[in-house]
C-alpha cells in the first residue's frame, strides 16, 4: 500500500520529470528573453527592475504556492478552470519560482559580455532572431548555469508543489512531496530512497548539461 513498489516509484519519477521539465522550459521561454532585454543596453528604470527580479529570488515558495493555489481554488478567481490541485497549477507555481533565478542569471551573463559584441552582431546585418541565437551561444556558460540552477531549484522544491498540487496519489505526487510525506510518516527509509532517486535524476540531468557546458573547453 504505502510501500514503495517499483511501479509507483517509476510513475512518481515520470510525473516529477514531466512537471519539472515543463516548468523549466516555460521558465526559460519567459525568462531568457527578459534576461537578455534587461542585461542589454541600459535604460531608465532598469536598475529598479533588476532589484525587483533579484528580490524575487527570495520569494518563499510556500507563499508563492499558496497564492497560486488560492488563485485556482474553487473559491478563487480562476476556480472555474477546475485546476485546483492539478499538475497545471504546480507548473504555474514552479515557473513563478524559477523565473527570477533564470532572469537574474541571464542578466549577469549578458552583462558580462564585451559591450562591443552586440554592436558587432548588429553591424553584420544579422536579423534579430539569429542575433538572439548567437547571443545564447555566446553566453553558453552562464546560460547553462542558469538552466542547471533553476532545474535544481524546481526539482528540489516542495513547498509550492505541496500547496498547489496537494501530493495527490497518482496525480500530483512528485518526488519531493512524497519525500516530505514519508518523513512526516516517520518512514525515513523510504524518504531516503526517494531522495536518492531524486539526486540520481539530478545527477543525470546536471551531468548531461555540465558535459555540454564544459565539453568544448578542456
Amino acid at each position: 500500500m504505502m510501500e514503495l513498489d517499483a511501479q509507483t516509484l517509476l510513475s512518481i519519477s515520470l510525473r516529477t520529470l514531466e512537471v519539472c521539465l515543463t516548468s523549466l522550459c516555460l521558465a526559460l521561454a519567459l525568462g531568457v528573453p527578459l534576461g537578455i532585454w534587461l542585461g542589454g543596453r541600459p535604460f531608465p528604470g532598469r536598475r529598479v527592475l533588476l532589484g525587483l527580479v533579484n528580490s524575487g529570488m527570495g520569494a518563499p515558495p510556500v507563499v508563492v504556492g499558496l497564492l497560486v493555489a488560492q488563485l485556482f481554488y474553487r473559491s478563487g478567481p480562476l476556480g472555474h478552470l477546475e485546476l485546483w490541485y492539478s499538475v497545471q497549477a504546480m507548473i504555474v507555481a514552479q515557473v513563478l519560482i524559477a523565473l527570477p533565478l533564470v532572469v537574474a542569471l541571464v542578466v549577469a551573463a549578458v552583462a558580462s559580455l564585451d559591450p562591443d559584441w552586440q554592436l558587432q552582431v548588429r553591424t553584420l546585418g544579422i536579423p534579430r532572431i539569429w542575433r538572439t541565437w548567437l547571443l545564447l551561444r555566446e553566453i553558453r556558460l552562464g546560460l547553462l548555469a542558469a538552466v542547471i540552477a533553476s532545474l535544481g531549484g524546481i526539482l528540489s522544491e516542495v513547498g509550492a508543489v505541496m500547496q498547489t498540487g496537494g501530493n495527490l496519489e497518482g496525480e500530483t505526487r512528485v518526488l519531493t512531496t512524497s519525500i516530505l510525506m514519508y518523513t512526516q510518516m516517520g518512514r525515513f527509509e523510504s524518504a531516503y530512497a526517494l531522495a536518492a532517486v531524486l539526486l540520481g535524476l539530478m545527477l543525470v540531468l546536471a551531468g548531461l548539461l555540465t558535459w555540454v557546458q564544459y565539453g568544448e573547453r578542456r
Binding site: Y73, N167, E169, M181, M185, G186
Partner: protein, 262 residues
C-alpha cells in the same frame, strides 16, 4: 485519473495525522471499486483543512477538533458532521518520567504535575486538533494555556516533527496514538498514560454544504461518508494497524453517532 475527475471525483481534505497513519490508503480503494468515485486526498494542517471546508474548497473533511468542527457546522459551511472513529491521545515522555505522571490519576493531573515541576514539555502550538486537546486539558487543570514556563517548547509544527523535538529534548508531549506509534522507533519516548476518557480523540467526517457552495459534490460526498460508517470500512478499521503495531489504531464509532443534518 486526472482527466475524468469532472465526472466522478471527490476532494477530501484531511489532517496530516490521518494521512500519515496510512489508513486512508486502505480505506479508499474499496470505495472506488464499489462506486467508481475517485477520492483525491489532500493532507493539510487541521486549521487549513477546516478553512478549506469553510470556503468550499473541498467536498468533505476528516478532522479531529470537535469544537471548531461544531462551530463550522453552526456557520452552515458544512452540512453534516459525522463521528466515524476514535482512539486516544497519549502523553509520552522520557522513560525515567521525572514528573511521575504515570502515577497520575488522569491526563489533567499529569499536565498539572508537568507544569508544577517545570518539566520539559513540548507543545505543538499549531491550532491542530491535538493542540486543541492540550489547551482543553490545561484549562481543565486550572492552568493558563498561554503561560510560558521554562521547559516549555512550542514547535508550531506537525505531530511527527514535534515528537522528534520532544525526543531530543527528553520532554513530555501530547500526541495522537497513531503518529506516536509510527515514530516510536525514532524517539526515545514512552507512552505514560493509558486510554483514559479525557484523552479521547474523535475523528469526524464533515460534509461541505453543497447549498452554500454549488461546486461541491454533495451526492458523492455523502456516499463516501456513508461508506466510512459502513460495514466494510469498519472492518478495515478494526484490522488497521494490527500488523504493524500489534493493535488497531482506530476504533470505529457506531452509526448511532451520526448527527442529523443541520
Amino acid at each position: 485519473s486526472a482527466d475524468d475527475r469532472e465526472t466522478e471525483s471527490l476532494l477530501l481534505a484531511t489532517t496530516t495525522s490521518v494521512r500519515d497513519s496510512g489508513l486512508l490508503e486502505v480505506l479508499l480503494p474499496p470505495f472506488f471499486d464499489r462506486t467508481g468515485v475517485e477520492v483525491r486526498t489532500v493532507a493539510v494542517g487541521t486549521g487549513a483543512a477546516l478553512r478549506m471546508g469553510a470556503e468550499g474548497n473541498a467536498d468533505l473533511l476528516i478532522t479531529h477538533a470537535p469544537d471548531p468542527e461544531k462551530q463550522l457546522l453552526a456557520s452552515g459551511a458544512i452540512s453534516e458532521r459525522r463521528e466515524i472513529m476514535e482512539n486516544f491521545f497519549v502523553i509520552a515522555g522520557p522513560a525515567e518520567d521525572p514528573a511521575e505522571i504515570s502515577e497520575a490519576l488522569d491526563a489533567v493531573e499529569a499536565l498539572r504535575r508537568i507544569q508544577n515541576r517545570k518539566s520539559p514539555f513540548v507543545s505543538r502550538a499549531d491550532d491542530s486538533g491535538t493542540h486543541k486537546k492540550e489547551v482543553e486539558l490545561m484549562t481543565r487543570a486550572g492552568l493558563d494555556p498561554s503561560v510560558r514556563w521554562p521547559g516549555l517548547t512550542r514547535t508550531g509544527s506537525g505531530m511527527g516533527q514535534s515528537l522528534l523535538v520532544a525526543g531530543q529534548r527528553r520532554a513530555y508531549i501530547l500526541s495522537d496514538i497513531g503518529t506516536f506509534l509510527a515514530f516510536r522507533g525514532r524517539v526515545e519516548l514512552k507512552a505514560l498514560t493509558g486510554p483514559s476518557k479525557d484523552l479521547r480523540n474523535v475523528y469526524s467526517v464533515l460534509l461541505v454544504s453543497p447549498k452554500r457552495f454549488p461546486k461541491v459534490r454533495g451526492r458523492e460526498a455523502r456516499l463516501l461518508a456513508d461508506y466510512l460508517q459502513g460495514e466494510t470500512a469498519r472492518s478495515i478499521m478494526d484490522r488497521f494497524g494490527v500488523e504493524r503495531f500489534g493493535r488497531p489504531l482506530f476504533v470505529p464509532i457506531a452509526v448511532s453517532g451520526v448527527e442529523p443534518e443541520a
